[in-house]
């Protein structure tokens, strides 16, 4: 089956076209990953068109859309998600959500307990922990780097330079990782899970206090 994979949960704007065989790892037919935290809205759709053109595939040939649902800084995250949702609606395709940290973890492979960390801005990070088998055992959460529990972790993927642990690739979710995480669900043609963003933070909003007087009391 032909799968379009998107992710905008990190500063990478990611689009890929993959063939998912009946068994084995998804095959990347074309992909485009541009690291630019400020241009998700401008870059994503041209990237989608470019991977389809490179692979010589029409949108109508697609069987499914897979999209990272974060956690990620809000504005960029929404670009990928609304694009995936609209493409799915317009083309009548199922849209499969993937935790963006899981896609990174999948590509980091096995080799010991893993911590995946991405930049949450405001001096915080998104993080999740994975056991030796690659299963997520904690997270996703958002915290200050110093508050991320490191006990038992032997490797880190994602944003590398915050904790002083051995770093393994990848730094960003990639199309193959995104599709691999949901490969079983895709092959079973199962109904996708709920397509909800992982914001992990409440909106910044405060109820106003009493009005300030304009004349002295």
């Amino acid at each position: 089956m032909l799968v379009l994979a998107l992710d905008t949960a990190t500063s990478a704007v990611t689009a890929g076209l993959l063939r998912l065989p009946a068994a084995g790892f998804p095959e990347v037919l074309a992909e485009r990953v541009t690291v630019d935290a400020r241009a998700h809205g401008e870059l994503l759709m041209p990237s989608v068109c470019s991977v389809l053109a490179t692979a010589g595939v029409s949108m109508r040939d697609l069987d499914a859309v897979v999209c990272g649902v974060g956690p990620g800084p809000f504005t960029g995250l929404r670009v990928g998600m609304v694009t995936a949702a609209a493409l799915g609606d317009a083309l009548g395709l199922p849209v499969f959500p993937v935790c963006s940290l899981d896609a990174i973890a999948y590509r980091a492979g096995t080799g010991g307990p893993l911590l995946v960390i991405t930049d949450a801005r405001r001096r915080e990070v998104y993080w999740a922990r994975y056991d030796e088998s690659g299963a997520r055992i904690d997270g996703p959460h958002v915290d200050r780097p110093l508050d991320v529990p490191l006990a038992g972790v032997s490797r880190v993927a994602g944003v590398p330079d915050v904790l002083g642990l051995p770093v393994v690739p990848p730094q960003y979710p990639d199309p193959a990782g995104l599709v691999a995480v949901v490969a079983t669900t895709l092959r079973a043609r199962a109904t996708p899970g709920p397509f909800h963003p992982l914001y992990l933070r409440r909106p910044d909003a405060w109820e106003p206090g009493p009005r300030k007087r304009v004349t002295p009391v």
């Binding site: 809205g41 401008e42 504005t75 929404r78 609209a86 909003a205 109820e207 004349t215």
Partner: protein
């Protein structure tokens, strides 16, 4: 006349997720087919104003369901759609981005042109759905985010700005005074309602920028808001209960007096015989009444869309898209940005390189 083209319009610049469907026939006549809205206004009320992140989250949730509803209401199938138009700016950055990204995806998937358009031009274009083709006109656009006087030669040509507010937008003043008077959010409809029972001449609040040396076509509402606050506080000091209806009516009169006086002045100065009022504040009943009275006196034809079309909606975006399609305007590139500060002189966004320059 049967439409020869169908345009879907998406609006997400503030707290309304709007999707409209408009038909356009060979002679350029536009017809409203659907006007669906999902509003997050109730989620903002307790904060006393629109919270951008709350609005953006609501847009993401509402976008696809609202598009579906609009197509169903219009009785069209996706293959009938000939273009997708979207508000590219001005507005809240994160909110605009949701609509722009969705519009790009629908346009590409349906293989039709994308038109990234100016929200303010769309507020003017919407009137053609109700009152037909627009002659050269003077437009007064008044909302929670804008208060502008514009000269309009054509909907598909750049608008010529004559004046704008130098501080608060008119709708913002309504919100702030409503809060001061203990009324709800958004303030406009509440003030309109209570002012109906008040005496507009009970207090004479200041008319901003109406002195002989002041800018002829600019507005200022910040001083008015402060004057209302001073008045209310002075009553409090004297232990007098605030006559809410009277204060609301007097405040409203000060706003609509200046808006209509400057609009008529601009039309007269420039020899323009049509005044069009649009934007959320155009739903205000006193503004509509005073504008009608002063236009009649000045010999100016007044056009104001029905209330539902004055506030933000997707039909206005679809209407502008329909005029662009009928004029065979070049489509926007797929890399256009959402531009929170899109200048009023740009009605149709070409590509990110041309707007960034």
């Amino acid at each position: 006349m049967t439409p020869t083209g169908i345009v879907l319009g998406i609006e997400s610049s503030c707290d309304e997720t709007g999707v409209g469907v408009v038909g356009v026939s060979g002679d350029g006549t536009v017809t409203l087919l659907a006007d669906e809205i999902a509003s997050s206004v109730d989620e903002h009320a307790r904060f006393g104003g629109v919270v951008p992140e709350v609005a953006s989250r609501a847009h993401l949730q509402a976008m696809v369901p609202t598009v579906r509803r609009a197509l169903r209401t219009a009785g069209v199938v996706p293959s009938d759609v000939d273009a997708v138009a979207v508000t590219a700016g001005p507005g809240l950055a994160g909110a605009l981005l949701v609509g722009v990204a969705a519009a790009k995806a629908y346009a590409v998937a349906w293989d039709v042109p994308l038109y990234g358009v100016n929200h303010l031009t769309a507020h003017i274009a919407v009137d053609t759905l109700e009152h037909g083709p627009l002659p050269p006109a003077l437009a007064l656009l008044v909302s929670g985010g804008h208060s502008s006087l514009l000269q309009v030669s054509s909907l598909v040509a750049p608008l010529h700005p004559l004046g704008a507010t130098i501080d608060d937008a008119a709708g913002e003043a309504f919100d702030k005074v409503a809060r001061l008077l203990g009324l709800g959010f958004p303030g406009g409809p509440f003030i309109d309602r209570v002012a109906a029972d008040g005496d507009p001449d009970s207090v004479r609040f200041p008319r901003g920028l109406t002195g002989p040396g002041d800018a002829r076509y600019d507005f200022s509402f910040s001083g008015l808001k402060t004057a209302v606050a001073r008045h209310v506080e002075a009553l409090g000091r004297q232990g007098i209960a605030v006559p809410v209806a009277d204060v609301a009516a007097a405040f409203q009169e000060a706003v609509v007096d200046v808006l209509t006086a400057k609009a008529i002045r601009a039309a007269t100065d420039r020899g323009i015989d049509t005044l069009l009022i649009g934007g959320g504040v155009a739903a205000n009943s006193r503004l509509r009444a005073l504008a009608a009275q002063r236009c009649t006196a000045a010999g100016v034809r007044l056009r104001v869309p029905r209330r539902r079309l004055c506030t933000d909606n997707g039909a206005m975006v679809a209407a502008l898209g329909a005029h662009l399609l009928a004029a065979a305007a070049p489509a926007s590139a797929l890399d256009i940005p959402a531009d929170p500060a899109l200048p009023i002189t740009t009605s149709l966004v070409g590509s990110s390189s041309s707007t960034r320059s």
